[in-house]
Symmetry: C2
Subunit: 188 residues, 2 copies
Amino acid sequence: MVNDQQIIQAAIAVLGNDFSAPLDVIADKAGVARRTLYRRYKDREQLISACRKETMLICKAAMNQAYNSSQEPLKQLERMLYAGIDCNYKYAFLNKLQQREQPKLFSDHDKNDLDDNVKLKWRELVIVLQKDGIINNDISVHWVFFLFDGMISTTITAIESGDVAVNDVKPYAWKSFARSIGIKLKQK
Amino acid sequence: MVNDQQIIQAAIAVLGNDFSAPLDVIADKAGVARRTLYRRYKDREQLISACRKETMLICKAAMNQAYNSSQEPLKQLERMLYAGIDCNYKYAFLNKLQQREQPKLFSDHDKNDLDDNVKLKWRELVIVLQKDGIINNDISVHWVFFLFDGMISTTITAIESGDVAVNDVKPYAWKSFARSIGIKLKQK
DNA sequence: GAAAAATGACACAAATTTGTGTCATTTTGC
DNA sequence: GCAAAATGACACAAATTTGTGTCATTTTTC
């Protein structure tokens, strides 16, 4: 009735904004008995591990697909933003997780999977766009990255608040992000 | 040696990104024995209460001062952004807290203090700027608010990462925010 | 529809977290 | 420098959370 993905989904949603939340909160959110969590995942730790794995898989796939969906850097960047938004709180969860693990393991197994493949591609896009004068030169790639991540978080917050129509918000996000880094969009 | 404010500061920093974190984490962060926390605050709940109070006091004061520091709406908005950034993780903490309490108490005591006084002023600013054509008309006040909040979070993230110089980042934030809502800044 | 697999609803021990008592030591106020 | 106040370092009980065992019931599978 309740599959693994739904449980992981619930876990990500809960842990994403309260990492030390007890397991029954997750169980409730998933609509499942706490005992069931332990049947599917040995540990709290293993559940979290599964969350990380799933999150990275999904985000990575979505980002890669977005990247490959066009040859035009600006379009690629736009679709990657949408992909991040679609990954939703998964994205926030990943960030929180990485932030938490950074002191421990610096260059470990699958963590850099997402980074190496996708973040590098993303970075190249930005550099190209900056070289072409499409993105302003007066800001660093680093700052552009923060803005990108930040816009995803902002959009997720907006969606979760329920005060903004979900369909409207993605183009808003892109328009705002694009402007913020100095891109002048052509009127459609 | 360690005063109340430092403890509150530590508590806000810890709870801001892990609300269920045990008290010894906060005690460690504050450089104080866990026992001391209980001497100053009866409860975990009272500590959190104190955090809320302090946070609101500081944020409100900073925002109001920013608002009052100029008559020019654009300048006021800019300074309010800076004030939000200065409030730092306090701001994130407040958001998390309100998000958590929203289901419980809808229109309660001091919560709306910050809202009524400061958020209303902020809102008026945006409406005026939009009426004057300085902020783009194609986005809603609501979305502008999310962008504002989001830019504060983004900036805090950037600062915490240590990859961006603290002094540079505030003007960056303003420039990016201003652009994102369609403000054309004059070159200084 | 019957056997197998998974679930929920308990109960329960171990581990962790909370909150308090005590006392030697440190810090503060004067 | 001394008395008062605050702190740290324990110890400790209560409460909460974790992880497991068991069994009746539900869901899947064939």
